[in-house]
Point group: C2
Chain length 220, copies 2
DNA sequence: TAAAAAAGTTAAAGTAGTTGAAGAAATTAC
DNA sequence: GTAATTTCTTCAACTACTTTAACTTTTTTA
């Protein structure tokens, strides 16, 4: 999943989307992904080659879905460029944003990916995006062949876990105004990239109320 | 941290408390902990012995603190018996409960444990409790000596992560009444063990409002 | 086992955030 | 490049939840 990682710059989380594996094995630039792994573990050239062979690249156009609810999330995706939003739809048809995920982060629905059960989430591209995807089968293989990656993913999810925890405490203890101010402080770049409607659904308020908060806050 | 693991029966999370290592190395019954590890990975008798040597046992009386805010969380703790609550205190002095942790779960403040920075949380025993603690140094050693445990902890935190994610979505999308009903469904045993005041602080409402909800709900 | 303290209940008044509706601004689509 | 659609803003009426306060019940202490 992507979650509150927005703007945590260094460390994303973990999730994935479903998709058909790309047919033509085109040469892909996984430099960014390898760099990312390399922040936590050291890889040999053989290992890098294996990694390259187990990920497949995919492009998503703005508004295209990586995952729709009730589908099984077949891959975890590393985001190369672009921005994706994970959200659920409640019984009244309202959307609630779990995460925004941008370059150098992961996205997907971890629960669905692990259990191979239908997902409750939708993942949609907010911008044209390039991602690298790995299936559960290939990831399991990778854990066996490159056990060091077990460490990378443990660290990745540990960070994501801590970030989520902070979000829970914020939601319990702060007003909407405080949460909005914390959001723009933590993820300033998102203000330019993401619509207020979506930010409101991440903060747990209506777009109308967010607009009122912005007016209030901007007066000073 | 313990968190929304309440009642997820099989899989806890991860956190710890600070403490002085117990002086006399008493024989300890780590059967429960070993069983727990064994659900996910297979251990040799040598490995089991090593594990026994790296954990230390501690007893906490009801109301005793495992961690106080601003302290560094020096250990992660596996709970043998009892119940602990992790909470933060906001600027107005209100408490917000992040997690309840009971038998077979882990507790601690993962961020503080990992970074060795002061914690924002308090962890207190709600009942007399028995725990097994491990320091960062010993856990790092364990990862080296028994790399399989890297896997156990990855799975542990993955589960915790997914549970947290569900809590975030619930907080965004449900009313207090819905959250209360979901809580008693997910963690029925907690109703007998944990005060309403603390449940309210977990749900993000006041004790007064929880009392009103209970009255309303009990009418049918 | 009695006194003190803490937790839970009830009710009335207050407030943070929602709803609905209408217009303005920005974005999308042809 | 203009019409259609979506997003954002503003306002007034509304509601879910909080606050305060007084009372009752349960738990703790000694």
């Amino acid at each position: 999943m992507k979650e509150q990682r927005p703007a945590n710059s260094t460390d994303p989380l973990l999730v994935s989307g479903n998709l058909k594996i790309q047919a033509p094995k085109q040469l892909m630039d996984s430099t960014k992904l390898i760099n990312h792994f390399s922040k936590h573990i050291k890889l040999t050239t053989d290992e890098i080659e294996l990694i390259n062979s187990l990920f497949s690249q995919r492009s998503l156009k703005k508004r295209e879905f990586l995952l729709k609810s009730n589908q099984i999330c077949r891959t975890e995706s590393f985001i190369f460029s672009g921005c994706l939003r994970t959200y659920s739809i409640d019984e009244n048809g309202f959307e609630h944003t779990l995460t925004f995920a941008v370059e150098d982060w992961w996205t997907g629905d971890l629960l669905s990916f692990l259990t191979e059960m239908p997902s409750f989430y939708n993942i949609v591209a907010l911008e044209n995006s390039e991602i690298l995807q790995i299936t559960k089968m290939n990831l399991d293989k990778l854990y066996v062949e490159v056990p060091k990656l077990e460490r990378y993913f443990r660290l990745l999810i540990q960070n994501a876990y801590v970030t989520q925890q902070q979000r829970i405490i914020q939601n319990l203890s702060q007003t909407a105004e405080q949460r909005y101010l914390a959001f723009i402080e933590k993820y300033p770049a998102f203000l330019q990239r993401i619509s207020q409607k979506h930010i409101a659904s991440y903060l747990g308020i209506t777009p109308v109320f967010l607009s009122m908060l912005r007016k209030k806050v901007s007066r000073w």
